[in-house]
Symmetry: C2
Amino acid sequence: MIHNFNAGPSILPKEVFEQASAAILNFDNTGLSILEFGHRTPEFTAVMEEARSLVKELMQLNDDHEVLFLHGCASTQFMQVPMNLLDSKESAAYTDTDIWGHKAITEAKLFGKVDVVASSKEKNYSYIPKDFAVPNDSKYLHITTNNTIYGTQWQTIPKTSVSLVADMSSDIFSRVLDFNAFDLIYAGAQKNMGPAGVNLVVVNKNILGKVKRVIPTIMDYRNHIKEGSMLNTPPVFAVYVCLLTLRWLKASGGVGAIEKKNIEKAALLYNEIDNNDLFTGNVAKEDRSKMNVCFVMKDPSLEKEFLQYAKSRNIAGIAGHRTTGGFRASIYNAMPLSSVQVLADTMRSFSALHKA
Amino acid sequence: MIHNFNAGPSILPKEVFEQASAAILNFDNTGLSILEFGHRTPEFTAVMEEARSLVKELMQLNDDHEVLFLHGCASTQFMQVPMNLLDSKESAAYTDTDIWGHKAITEAKLFGKVDVVASSKEKNYSYIPKDFAVPNDSKYLHITTNNTIYGTQWQTIPKTSVSLVADMSSDIFSRVLDFNAFDLIYAGAQKNMGPAGVNLVVVNKNILGKVKRVIPTIMDYRNHIKEGSMLNTPPVFAVYVCLLTLRWLKASGGVGAIEKKNIEKAALLYNEIDNNDLFTGNVAKEDRSKMNVCFVMKDPSLEKEFLQYAKSRNIAGIAGHRTTGGFRASIYNAMPLSSVQVLADTMRSFSALHKA
């Protein structure tokens, strides 16, 4: 068995793989593959409706919040969010806490004014800014709740009088939050939800339709809401795999239950990092991500050797992001505690080898 | 065995389903699922490169033409094409030969001026316009080469002095064309290529970068070209299935060989329509599509009964589009001649029943 710590696309539950594989040969006992299945059939319409309704249930959303599954990944939303929410003379508040938040800022500037109200860029994104003010006339405040590349996470969601918009790509469904406090949440599926190629968008319908610009049909959230997330051919298979994962999440006890497991997994790994002489964390302890655990070796010349050693123990995907180096172990919802234990044990035995 | 005549998502080769299903459990002998596989790994980079290069080979593209696999479906391209090619004061020529071409016109109008140079709308899209002029100062001429809903197809690609842009969603890889004559070709994968959720875009790189507007990062074809179609996380699984289909197409003899089979399949079915007293075609004979065969019953009150009768013979997906009614049998590349024969036989035996 391979322990897959890839940051995304990344591990999904084993039963999801099995069910998805089977549905490619025979979907829902129809004798047809899910890959050749028309999206306007009663069978697929039921898939879409169950997926949307499970999101509402698992996130405990109120009726103002609509659930959409849209093509693309978070990079599409960097553009689509300001296109729908920000007029050219208005201003939005953004936080710069990772490459992804930074990219969201770049795109928002094409549509209106951007106030970068908080940034940890000057310290290589190693912490989450705490005290910052959001101008009252901001159209919204944008945060990236978990920072996949650097391994930080907003432990507390900032309280603000303006609309709250969040990129939750890498920690969606991993912890209980007051999701109704957000007016817009988006998340590329490829971490905690499904395959790459579909975005979850949760939007308070009351904030839409306020901008003056003409929005291309496919980019206007209102059109997707009106058509029940079936404005155009949706990414059928990707939505189906999301449904399988959502069913698994519900059967596992929901977001609260998975959060407890995530806390346990993260504690195990950070504990090893803090107590192992060879390794060290590189972000502020209070801001550590429970999804992406980043660390380096005190002696960087050993990193290549450790990577090989881990590989020999069937540990995959722990090399840091191509822009940062070091290590990153992504321990998303589907990652079992036992695999995290294997990684911690491997760090310990590697350390013992080097002391011997 | 079910004979799947769905218009899209639609039938793919049986071996593609088998290989895709297997790769969800174990991709390329890595012990990991293709669904949890990082897109920047050497293994997936090889998938993307092979897929792009097979497209170049099968379409015999010259080096000016770049091949991209982008998120979304053709509806995304309706917007992305004019965003990249048409300045606000410039004019583009569009042909209105189907609901899809009509939608492309609607989106193009958001970006510049649109000349509808030819339309068959007034005759319910039942033919392809033949004689029309394209103004010399048009930025490009847009056509929809095959009209999925109404069952017409451009048998001859119009010769024009301006750039040629085509939506080939429903007949890509089905027939030999001089693909280098097009400056931009796009196609949602879900007919002849793969699962819904990925677009093939073939673009002559020399036509890009001429518009004055600022294009959002993810919408600018040049950014995708620069990053080898890996600007952001691509729809990994969808691209992989496209690769499997492209390999199958090459092993089947390429586009020329499949075109011969497509001609044979279409002739078989149209022959039955023309010679069966109960049925009749509803588009101009010379414009009939070899991909989507549309027909009605002379006595419409029999349609429901025929649909049931066909269903009892394991024929699926022949109901016409929700906006047109009647019947539509989609006989894409992967549809075997034997299944088309089953449909023709079913039409004949239904007819015999009613004569008895």
